[in-house]
Amino acid sequence: MAFQAPIEQYSGKIREVTIGTGDNKVVAGGQNILTFYDFEGTMPHRPLIAMEVYDVEPQDWATALKDTLGSVWGDPVAWAKKCQDDFGADLICLQLISTDPNGADKSVDEAVETVKAVLGAISIPLIVYGSGNADKDSEVLKKVAEAAQGQNIVIGTAVEDNYKSVAAAAMGFNQVVSGETPIDVNMAKQLNILMTNLGLPAEQILIDPAVGALGYGLEYAYSVIERDRLAALQQNDAMMQMPIIANMGREVWKTKEAKISREEAPEWGDPTRRGILWETITAVSLLMAGTDILIMRHPESVNLVKKTFAEFGLN
């Protein structure tokens, strides 16, 4: 008798979350299997890649990044268009770093202008992340949600300290919320319960588990995401069935391994290749664990991940 590979059947399914509108919308989730386990079920949509765009000119970024992206730094519109047109991003993730009150402290209105300009220039869907300051983000994201009404964008992140206002903005203007919790299955679920209790539909929520990069907690992130996924699929836990988004580009490119020059570490070889591989390995690992949307930085890493998709027959 021929060998029959054991097949796992899951009772749960990941929710489909639509981002964007019309012909250019994308859908995350929808699978009833662990990512790439297509012999056990179906994965109607391949994982998505959002490319990062900063609203300020980056300082101290790796040379590998400067070489390919440097020309558009300081111009978020050009940067976003380049990611869309030249690098094949599925989405743009606009990081509103300049709004940080402990940094440039740009006003809410300035942030909204940037969002509008980027939205006007691209046709692919948009994710807008604040600076990570809970209070400021709640103000910024509220206005961003309003300005982007009808565009069905993702706003984030909602955290324990501001989820009420972020979720309210998303409900009011029909946007998707990325809810961030510090790499813990239960805390992710708790935030989802709190947001759905407010009336935010589960179909408008993404889980951002605050991942770490290769060498900096990736294995922990991996196991937490995997457990998130098993809770969703095996235990059919409705509050864990949201797609997972990993804000990983910034984590990868702040590591020493991705940044350090050849002069400083000649034994580590070509820094460009090293950085790209660091990001790619992190990305593929997070995909294997169950991530549905990757937020990435280097075009070549994006390219390599897309090749991985192709090898799985996902386009």
Partner: protein, 647 residues
């Protein structure tokens, strides 16, 4: 038992003869505003007796007109016959329908282990303490009968009491000659019989006949609170009790910080002195209350967690905290009280109840003894909710124990207006879902001073069910109500306004308090589920849950489940033991057989170390939510919440 029929809620409750009318309303699940704890000062609990009579104390809060119309203050009235009571609209403050919609269930308290249960339990052990006080009259020596004083005493004790052989403390020996002659050779000998192959010992010799005055002390040394009971060792009767915060609290709130403190220069000595000072203070208090002589207290049995026991005996707890977490001893010798600095007479002895492991102490072995788990055929979960939450699962055949760091919240520690369950502590709380006005009752029905464990369980459950706080214990500050406010960026709820309290400050429950309470209940719940899962026993299989701790009298099972402190079980399975550690200490004090049993418990029980358990932390985080992150395990709470949301 008389019946009370409440209108307009149309609820009937049967109460004990002489029950307070406000408490009857609480039992019936009927809301009556009451903000002074039942001390008859706020005058808000006005009700009308429509049928029957309720005896009520006179109060200036009611006019002659009111009285003529049948008004009484519920908190001053006692129920002695069937009555019908109307709650006027002003005492509900608003829409009574909202209160009805909420379907307030009639309350089921965790039944107390009744005095009858206890006497049955105690009845198994005959009173047989480790000490005896024996009066002897000796023939004075002469030239013919010239044996030594000690031999003379030995001869007398053997002839008159059959005590043939004993050793003697050198301190007694030094005084024997004087005492005998002063007392005309009529003396009382205190003999200590430890058993276990140890020779009896003469530890004290007193002039005259004091054999009828034979007292001992049962002590519970908690991380946060210390309890002392003075017990008549002849009758078994408790003559007086007293309790106090453990003065060591000034050196850290939990066990770990105490151990850290003990490692400082003279730290151990200081901690040892502090706890002894606390006990001494309590000894003074019980001696005064019972009007006995300190000199007649000859024995003490103390129970406490392993760290407390170590410190009490002056043994360094250092290695309890360091991997692989080893105590110096789980079985400790009987020592002289003087050696520890205790205010007890020379020769008096102290025994500490044996521990199981570094974090499962004599408090739990004592509790398992006192609550009868050791001989029960029911699968029992015993939970001692102390600063160190310790628990055990099992029955007469097996016992598995574990412990978790729960924090002192339920003893009132780390809670802004928290206090122990003593007079003036808010012990019951209801909140009207429509008006968010509270109904509070205090211990002793005096003006509130603070809030104790049972009141905290109630308050958190009520705030949660009325939507004042969310699952994370955060206040909904959008609610427009003067009792809900933000102070220094932190939400809080005013349980009692300053004017209604005895401390002349608002009594509040803050977000920081809620964080501490949620952590405490989370740790205990995580301990429970780890224990159950490690034996692969489902919650439904538990036949009895015994709760020990200094909560206060009224622990409501539903409310405890609502906040996720206890798993969903039928109310009648839950019983409240009170201070199990103290009860056990008293038993060991009174009976040498009980001591043998507690030793047996400590030897046979299995210990599950949660610090090395890979699932505990995960369970803990999932329990940091009201009632729990895994809501499917709390179906009845979810139903109650849904009912309220839709109302």
């Amino acid at each position: 038992m008389p019946k009370v029929h409440f209108y307009p809620d149309n609820r009937i409750v049967e109460v004990e003869d002489g029950e307070n009318l406000l408490r009857a309303a609480m039992l019936a699940g009927v809301h009556v505003n009451a903000s002074c704890g039942g001390s008859s000062t706020c005058g808000k609990c006005r009700v009308i007796i429509e049928q029957g009579k309720a005896e009520a104390k006179p109060t200036a809060k009611l006019s002659a007109d009111d009285i003529a119309q049948g008004y009484v203050l519920a908190c001053t009235a006692t129920v002695n016959e069937d009555i019908e009571v109307r709650i006027p609209i002003e005492s509900q403050m608003g829409d009574s329908k909202a209160a009805l919609d909420r379907e307030l269930e009639t309350v089921s308290y965790a039944g107390f282990l009744s005095a009858k249960d206890l006497s049955e339990l105690f009845g198994e052990f005959t009173i047989n303490p480790a000490t005896k006080r024996l009066y002897v009259e000796l023939t004075p020596p002469n030239l013919e009968d010239n044996v030594s004083d000690l031999e003379r005493l030995r001869r007398g004790l053997n002839r008159q009491h059959g005590v043939a052989d004993f050793n003697v403390d050198i301190s007694v020996l030094r005084k024997i000659a004087g005492t005998l002659r002063e007392a005309d050779f009529k003396v009382t000998a205190t003999i200590l019989s430890l058993g276990g192959g140890e020779c009896d010992r003469l530890v004290k010799l007193d002039a005259g006949d004091c054999s009828a005055r034979h007292y001992g002390l049962a002590v519970d040394i908690g991380t946060t609170s210390v309890y002392v009971e003075l017990v008549d060792l002849a009758t078994g009767e408790t003559l007086a009790k007293a309790s106090e915060y453990n003065t060591q609290v000034s050196c850290g709130e939990d066990i770990i910080s105490r151990i850290v403190y003990s490692l400082k220069k003279d730290g151990l000595q200081k901690l040892q002195q502090l706890v002894v000072e606390t006990i001494n203070k309590l000894i003074d208090r019980v001696v005064e209350r019972a009007a006995v002589e300190l000199d007649d207290i000859v024995y003490m049995v103390a129970a406490g967690n392993t760290t407390m026991t170590h410190i009490f005996l002056g043994i360094s707890p250092k290695y309890i905290r360091e991997e692989p977490y080893i105590p110096t001893a789980t079985f400790t010798p009987t020592v002289e009280a003087k050696e520890l600095g205790l205010r007890m007479p020379e020769g008096a002895r102290v025994y500490t109840v044996p521990s199981k492991a570094s974090y499962v102490g004599g408090d739990i072995t004592a509790g398992l003894l006192a609550s009868g788990v050791f001989k029960s055929d029911k699968l029992t979960l015993y939970i001692d909710v102390g600063t160190n939450g310790e628990m055990a699962l099992g029955n007469a055949d097996w016992l598995l124990s574990c412990s978790c760091s729960a924090g002192p919240a339920f003893e009132g520690g780390s809670i802004k207006n928290g206090m122990r369950a003593t007079k003036g502590a808010i012990e019951q709380v209801r909140i009207n879902p429509a008006t968010l006005e509270p109904m509070i009752l205090t211990i002793g029905q005096t003006k509130p001073k603070g809030i104790c464990g049972s009141g905290l369980i109630d308050a958190v459950a009520e705030l949660f069910l009325t939507g004042v706080i969310n699952e994370k214990g955060r206040f909904n500050l959008e609610l427009d109500n003067p009792r809900i406010r933000e102070v220094d960026g932190q939400g809080e709820y005013v349980l009692a306004w300053a004017a209604d309290t005895s401390i002349k400050r608002d009594i509040v429950l803050t977000e920081a308090d809620l964080d501490n309470l949620i952590r405490t209940k989370g740790a205990i719940y995580a301990g429970i589920t780890t224990l159950l899962d490690s034996m692969q026993i489902p919650v439904e299989a538990i036949e009895e849950i015994l709760i020990a701790g200094g909560f206060g009298r009224y622990i409501e099972v539903d409310q405890s489940i609502t906040i996720g402190l206890l798993p969903e079980v039928e109310g009648e399975k839950v019983k409240y033991v009170g201070n199990g550690s103290l009860l056990g200490a008293r038993l060991v004090l009174l009976s040498r057989e009980a001591k043998d049993v507690v030793i047996d418990i400590a030897q046979k029980m299995t210990y599950l170390d949660l610090s090395t358990n890979p699932t505990f932390m995960d369970r803990y985080v999932s329990a940091l939510f009201l009632p729990h992150t895994d809501r499917d395990t709390f179906p009845s709470v979810m139903r109650r919440m849904k009912a309220i949301l839709s109302a």
